[in-house]
């Protein structure tokens, strides 16, 4: 081929190699389906491997015949074309044999699908609710409920250096903690749009559909940490609402559960007392960094017109009642959600106080949790 063409190909190859080997990102990678941590995920992995091997075997035969033909029957090699263009026997065979292979694949697949369906006889039920853009976990019979957000370390690194963060984009502030060797039934729904709850190590995903409940189950035999992500496009932060499941021994799980219940009690009692402005602002800053920063930005400038600025904003510097109402009840028809459903009285009081006293706003006023409770 011409000199010019050679030069183009060489420089292209050079670019390819340079790109491949420059700045390697040091994280383990694999190529196959996650085998997972449960009996069920192992069954799914086995189904995957069966279908993969069937495809490879068929591919070897078909592509073998094809590439052999391309080599052996080249006109440049002197091949003269034959005349045949039908053969009923062969055609019937290669219709029936694939059909039989498909039946053989369908049988184990059917059994596995039926196994996932059976959510009865579970030892624990957890309700999972998808929100834009976080998960809420409700231990229905234990009275524990909390939100699980992308960890601040990851969020802060998206425009910085992701490689400096362990489990970048797969870390949360509050993991879902479950006991091992217990059949856990999940009931899954959504507060707004369709999300999907997926932890590859458990072997399945289920959509979180607003107004409907899907269920599924798992039983994890070994302690460990299993990570997943939302798997249905749900708006701008679809890629930023991960899932972390921590499976603990029964004793460790019970310890955690007790601590969580105590936290809930403390939050409730916190709501009854009077808070000082500084402690509200400090707490509010953390709440803002988890729930508000994605839209209104760290400097309160927002991304107008979709996400208004809080710095000097009409509501943030206006009457307190209006500010409380907006945060509690959201603004229908926009992306501003009703955070009264997601945050407790203390956190709401804190974040509103913070917004009124940050970004150059200096209202000086502050909001007590009791005011929030009254406004609900």
């Amino acid at each position: 081929m011409g000199q010019q063409h050679q030069a183009v190909l060489r420089s292209g190859l050079g670019m390819l190699l340079a790109g491949l080997f420059a700045q390697p990102v040091r994280a383990e990678y694999g190529m196959n389906l996650v085998r997972g941590a449960t009996d069920y995920s192992h069954r799914v992995f086995d189904l995957h491997m069966i279908s993969l091997w069937v495809c490879i075997a068929i591919g070897v035969v078909v592509f073998g015949a094809m590439f052999y033909s391309l080599f052996a029957f080249r006109k440049s090699r002197g091949a003269v074309a034959s005349n045949f263009h039908e053969n009923t026997t062969v055609e019937v065979l290669w219709t029936i044999v694939p059909f039989i292979i498909l039946i053989a694949m369908a049988i184990p697949a059917t059994k596995t699908l039926i196994a996932l369906e059976d959510t009865t006889d579970s030892g624990l039920t957890i309700k999972i609710t998808g929100y834009q853009w976080r998960w809420q976990y409700d231990y229905l019979e234990q009275g524990v409920s909390f939100f699980s957000n992308l960890a601040a370390t990851s969020r802060d690194a998206t425009k910085g250096d992701p490689t400096s963060v362990e489990h970048y984009l797969l870390e949360v502030d509050e993991p879902l903690v479950v006991p091992i060797n217990t059949k856990i039934r999940f009931v899954i729904t959504s507060n707004d749009v369709i999300h999907s709850w997926w932890v590859p190590a458990l072997g399945w995903k289920q959509d979180a559909v607003p107004g409907f409940i899907n269920d599924s189950w798992t039983n994890i035999p070994q302690p460990g940490v299993y990570r997943g992500q939302c798997a249905e496009l749900c708006g701008k932060d679809h890629g930023f609402m991960p899932i972390v499941v921590e499976a603990k021994t029964r004793e460790d799980y019970e310890t955690w559960l007790t601590a969580k219940k105590a936290e809930a009690e403390a939050a409730k009692s916190g709501a009854d007392r009077e808070w000082g402005k500084d402690e509200l602002v400090e707490r509010g800053k953390t709440v803002y960094g988890t729930y508000c920063v994605a839209c209104h930005q760290a400097n309160g400038q927002g991304i107008p017109p979709a996400f208004p600025a809080l710095a000097g904003g009409v509501i943030a510097t206006g009457p307190v009642e209006g500010h409380i109402d907006r945060v509690l009840h959201g603004k229908p028809g926009t992306a501003m959600q009703a955070f009264g459903l997601q945050l407790n009285d203390v956190d709401l009081a804190a974040v509103i106080t913070y917004e009124r006293n940050a970004f150059g706003n200096d209202k000086g006023d502050f909001v007590q949790p009791k005011q929030i409770k009254a406004a609900r």
């Binding site: 790109g19 068929i58 039908e86 995903k205």
Partner: protein, 525 residues
């Protein structure tokens, strides 16, 4: 075969000036208009893909905000499906069907003109959303409710209108194809003597007529949910978001066969020509096309295995989906058997057609894996699906389009394209397309979801490789544009036959084919 020289004498040529293109009812002109539109849309959708791959080149958000990324992926999908692949196939239908069946033009030439001219308006509307308050659609080309209804900006209504216009265009085009194929074949050309490309378009036209109205219904239900108080897709009002998915995919699954069946037809024309051997099993090919088309209507919920369907439904859709492998396999075996004991040469159209058989089949394998319901619960909404559909659409449908372009451009223009450049375009595309899409299987299996602008570190290396493949692939298509434009403008004069092994009525016409061809019906041997 002798040139039909007397055909050329008593005819007027095309009208003069730019209004020729506005008012033309000539199938060749309209075919060219569709093909140019498709090429421009392909480059537009491809540019969006380059931005996507640039953002995904490394972990972190370097180029665009997440909402903009969602707009990029949405518009890339909409433009490629509705703006590139579908109009391109309609362009081929317009150019080739009348010539292949010995007809003077399409059955309904004025409707043909309107079918085309709807499209530039539809795409201008769609593209205008980038500049309107609310921005371009950001809910994926599959636009699931309620993200696309309750939670979507006002530009969604512009999107809905654009979809209606595109659908109208497709339906009218399909009516035209059916009327032409059923009524205007030259005497002696029975359906079972018709070229396979015409068969695939006949069947595709029925799919379009059945499926596009369902899409129209779907977007209308979206519109009434948004503005007229209905609750089709809202549980609060007694509806169901999953209903959206059912109606969308009832359109959506036949839609993907609409995009691939004409590709099967083109490949079935090209391989016999360059293997110098008749297609193996013509009748089975016709039955396989019909079986695939029928099955395409009864498998839609395999896109919904994770939505919480009852197990009986999941089992049924799994079995029905797996069945499609049988007639598709028959077609692949027939192409390979056509090669067997042929006399094969490797001009550019043949290279693209062979790459189609190899790489589309790989996409078919991942499709079979996806059909397995429980396994799909791990694959769905991951890059494994992205890999699958890009394999069947890019080295599948798009390579077949390019194969057809190289194959027939000498007939359209009277000039041979530059064979060395064509082969260079082929090898650059064929290698880079695999560098681009094959690693997506791996990251998908390892847990990378779709439609995310940033990803965990373990997906970084393969994403970088994909992006490099993407940049090379994208640049290589500029070479294709150059080759096509250069061939329109000049080149070695093409003979009537063009290719030594070609058979079919189109090769009995001069190259370039006269503005009006087969004004008298030819004799069918």
């Amino acid at each position: 075969m002798a040139t039909l020289a007397h055909e050329v004498d008593h005819q007027h040529g095309p009208a003069r000036g730019i209004l020729r293109w506005v008012f033309t009812t000539n199938h060749k002109d309209i075919g060219s208009l569709y093909l140019w539109l498709a090429l421009i849309m392909f480059l537009t959708g491809g540019s969006l893909a380059m931005l996507i791959r640039a953002e995904l080149f490394q972990p972190g958000l370097q180029l665009v905000e997440p909402i903009v990324f969602n707009r990029l992926t949405t518009m890339h999908g909409l433009i490629m499906v509705f703006g590139a692949v579908m109009p391109a196939w309609t362009g081929f239908a317009n150019w080739m069907i009348p010539m292949m069946i010995g007809a003077p033009d399409m059955a309904l030439p004025r409707m043909n003109n309107w079918s085309f001219w709807l499209l530039p308006f539809a795409f201008s509307l769609l593209m205008s959303t980038w500049f309107l308050d609310g921005g371009a659609p950001a809910f994926g080309w599959t636009f699931y409710a309620p993200l696309s209804t309750t939670f979507a900006p006002s530009t969604t209504d512009v999107f809905i209108f654009a979809v209606h216009l595109m659908g109208f265009s497709s339906i009218m085009g399909a009516i035209n194809v059916i009327a032409t194929v059923l009524n205007m074949r030259a005497p002696g050309m029975t359906l079972m003597k018709m070229p396979l490309f015409c068969w695939t378009w006949l069947v595709t036209a029925f799919l379009l007529i059945a499926a596009m109205p369902v899409l129209a219904g779907t977007v209308t239900m979206m519109l009434t949910d948004r503005h007229f108080g209905t609750s089709f897709f809202s549980a609060a009002g007694g509806g169901d978001p999953v209903l959206f998915q059912h109606v969308f995919w009832f359109f959506g699954h036949p839609e993907v066969y609409i995009m691939i069946l004409p590709a099967f037809g083109v490949v079935s024309e090209i391989i016999p020509t360059f293997a110098r051997k008749q297609i193996f099993g013509y009748a089975s090919m016709v039955y396989a096309i019909s079986a695939i088309a029928f099955l395409s209507f009864i498998v839609w919920a395999h896109h919904m295995f994770a939505t919480g369907m009852p197990v009986a439904g999941e089992l049924y859709f799994m079995y029905a989906t797996m069945l499609i492998a049988v007639p598709t396999g028959v077609k692949v075996f027939n192409w390979v058997t056509t090669l067997w004991r042929g006399s094969i040469s490797f001009e550019t159209p043949m290279l693209f057609a062979l790459a189609f058989v190899f790489l589309f089949t790989i996409g078919g394998f991942s499709g079979l894996m996806l059909a397995i319901g429980p396994a799909d619960m791990q694959y769905t909404d991951t890059y494994f699906v992205v890999a699958h559909f890009h394999y069947v659409l890019v080295p599948g449908a798009v390579f077949a389009l390019m194969a057809g372009a190289y194959y027939w451009i000498p007939k359209w223009t009277g000039h041979m394209y530059n064979e060395r450049l064509g082969k260079l375009h082929f090898w650059l595309s064929a290698i880079s397309v695999n560098v681009l899409f094959f690693p997506m299987h791996f990251v998908g299996l390892q847990g990378m979801p779709r439609r995310i602008p940033d990803y965990a570190l373990q997906f970084a290396d393969f994403n970088r490789i994909s992006s490099i493949g993407g940049f090379v692939f994208g640049l290589s298509q500029l070479l294709f544009v150059y080759i096509m434009i250069a061939t329109v403008r000049g080149g070695v004069k093409a003979t009537d036959r063009v290719w030594e092994g070609s058979h079919g009525l189109e090769w009995t016409l001069p190259s370039p084919a006269p503005y009006h061809s087969f004004t008298t019906a030819p004799e069918i041997p």
